[in-house]
Amino acid sequence: MPTKDEIFEKVQEALVEALGVDNDEVAPEATLVGDLGAESIDFLDIVFRLEKAFDIKIPRGELFPEDVWTNAEYVQDGKVTEAGLEELRRRMPFANLDQFAKNPVVQEFGNLLTVADMCRFVETKVEVTD
């Protein structure tokens, strides 16, 4: 069972390898898209590296539910609807969506997901020790 520090180290390593960034850039508060330059295809790579690093299975779309953006029920005029926000909160309990909810422009969403969110996501998949 990994500790939270060990989870952070492995997440950091996965992001460094997937995104070609330096270790010190991968701070807990760094956003994946805005700060680390992740593109949508990188999430596939990141998910695969996390699966290998933690020996877990991550269903596609679980970390970054892209299908929400293509669902007319959840997005109108480039903004996530109330129903969409509810769906995101349900599917992404590891992420803090409060800031995004104030101005839920779809294009801004990628800037929200942080390294700390990633760690919390992994913590939902593995048993963590103190």
């Binding site: 295809i41 596939l44 790579d45 695969f48 590296r49 290998k52």
Partner: protein, 250 residues
Amino acid sequence: MQLDGRIALVTGGSRGIGRACVVELARRGAAVTLVYRSNREAAEALVTELTAEGLAVEAAEADVRDGQRAQQIVDRLVEKHDRLDILVNSAGIVSDGLLGAMTTEQWTSVIETNLTGTYHYCRAVAQQMMYQRSGSIVNLSSTAAEYASRGQVNYAASKGGINGLTRGMAKEFAPRKVRINAVAPGMIETDMSEAIRNLAGEQILKAIPMKRIGKPEEVAAVVAFLAGDEASYVTGQILLVDGGLSLGVY
């Protein structure tokens, strides 16, 4: 040798162009797994023939329309070798008929085998190759994708789809150091083209500037080139191997 130590997977590898690709890649040093659907005898004979030469070849039975089986084969290979370097999508069928007489089953079987089958294997290897930051995929297209012939709308559509898949995937994966190209053969001496060659007879040679039918080995050599490091700066290309067929008659 050029492909020493590379791990390769070839669909449709028991006959025709796929078989020639298996032979070419293995003789260039790759360890090859060939996928066959129904021709177990031919697949096993090829494995026996090449292993007798000291080459590393094995066979796996699968219908390329089955995406889960594709992933299973790829996962097993990666588990065994810890990597996968080359994928050649060569499995393909024809089921010709004029559009007005074509059944939905004819349309679907060709699209699902040729195009969806290619998609399944591309998808199955994509993450591993992206993870490795290396890999080369070669899809078998056809001149039929761009140069129409009567009675083959399903085949032409499937190969046109492969061209689109190849270019789109190449763009997605180029930054991750995975190359995806296609080879588009013209008239090649295979079982699959036998009916059309018989039908057209000598007339067909008039349309080919080189005045001869191509051999599977001539396609396989180009596939092996694209699969290897000599083509390290080539991606998203559809390379025609057609004796000049696409140049037109005049």
